[in-house]
């Protein structure tokens, strides 16, 4: 188990006041909230911040945590000494934070029924389990054709004695053809287990696309860039263009300018009823004139085809 430096996570000193703890948490929570911050590490960071705050905001937990001293470093191999929590009175429960996905470190020290955690869940009333949300990142190719994916999510469960444990939850899911980023798949009954025999909640999977070296999606449409030589653009040509469905031959009309966008109909993220297209933006590559002969050719072009591109 790795040691977690909760003070470092919140960027505060060990002698910070409870108000400073709260302020640091609120500032960082706003900054790294996964709905607001779209960078890759934001979600993990947000969970770390929440975990740190869960401990430091509670004077009892904080005092127990402080007993480990200041010599531990983030990530260091850690084993709590026996009876580390002896002599502390713990009255507080959790105050609304979503504990799902907290670290092993947290779970070992504060999670397993200590501090009144999850005690409320052992009561006998019956209710539907919570709906769960998760974002999954898929490849554009998988959305184009439709596919099946095996995904593993972390889920918090409560055992017979009321202890919270996190468990991997593996699902095999069908990804429908033509799904786009931001759409959801609703899996009925795959959310949190119901309480007291109540029905399970639902699981919502939000789709996001992994970066692709050639393509990016805007809604149903796929965009890519194709490079042409000046003579291909000027004289017209048929070029091979990669699309999600494989290479296609595209006709370039004579006199095509750089920046022009050509459409390949129906080659985007299409479903049975909705069509997505593939848009190809033309880029013209200017060959370097290295040899004397090549330079001469450019000068010849300048003489035969005088043009001023800066006058419209």
């Amino acid at each position: 188990m790795e040691f977690k430096d909760y003070y470092e996570t919140l960027g505060i000193k060990r002698d910070a006041s409870q108000d400073q703890v709260k302020q640091a948490y609120r500032r960082l929570a706003r900054k790294f909230h996964p709905d607001v911050n779209k960078s890759a590490g934001a979600e993990a960071k947000f969970k770390d911040i929440g975990e740190a705050y869960e401990v430091l905001k509670d004077p009892e937990k904080r005092a127990a945590y402080d007993k480990f001293g200041a010599n531990w470093k983030e990530g260091q191999e850690f084993k709590p000494p026996p009876n580390w929590d002896a002599g502390f009175e713990f009255s507080g429960g959790f105050t609304g934070a979503d504990q799902q996905g907290f670290s092993d470190f947290f779970e070992e020290l504060f999670g397993r029924g200590r501090f009144g955690a999850a005690g409320r869940r052992t009561s006998s009333f019956r209710m539907q389990g919570e709906n769960q949300h998760a974002k999954i990142v898929i490849r554009l190719e998988d959305a184009y054709l439709g596919s099946t994916q095996t995904i593993t999510l972390t889920r918090a469960t409560v055992d017979e004695s009321g202890h919270v444990r996190t468990q991997p939850h593996t699902l095999h899911v069908t990804i429908p053809k033509g799904i786009t980023a931001g759409q959801h798949i609703r899996l009925e009954g795959q959310g949190s287990p119901g309480i007291g025999g109540g029905p399970n909640g639902d699981l919502y999977l939000e789709i996001a696309f992994a970066d692709h070296p050639l393509f990016h999606a805007e809604g149903r449409d796929i965009h890519s860039v194709v490079a042409l030589t000046p003579w291909e653009a000027a004289l017209g040509a048929t070029v091979t263009v990669p699309t999600l469905g494989g290479n296609v031959e595209m006709k370039i009309p004579a006199g095509t300018q750089g920046g022009k966008v050509l459409r390949l109909k129906g080659r985007g993220l299409s479903t049975a009823s909705k069509r997505g297209d593939h848009y190809v933006t033309i880029r013209i590559i200017v060959p370097e004139a290295k040899t004397e002969e090549q330079k001469k050719l450019y000068r010849e072009m300048a003489r035969i085809m005088p043009v001023n591109p800066r006058t419209s």
Binding site: L171, V173, H184
Partner: protein, 100 residues
Amino acid sequence: MRKEVIYLTGTLLDEELECSLADICRYCNISAALVQEMIDEGLLCPRGHDPKEWRFSALELRRIQVTLRLQRDLRVNLPGCALVLDLLEELEDLRRRRGR
């Protein structure tokens, strides 16, 4: 013997989604009163005139879910959520255009 893997097929909530007030309450596990508050705040704009005719889109479903997370995690109130959602959508739009 190889174990047969069963793939779950969910309901796709895409742009064709049209759900009623009852559906949206069930999907999001929220009360009709909260949906009404979100409509009053301009956070949701269902099609249709009265609650029986209301039809919500997938975009609205997403707005509700982000709102619930912002309320829970950051204690943002409804007018604040409406503002955040508008700004986030504008930001996404700008990022998309820049990505071209």
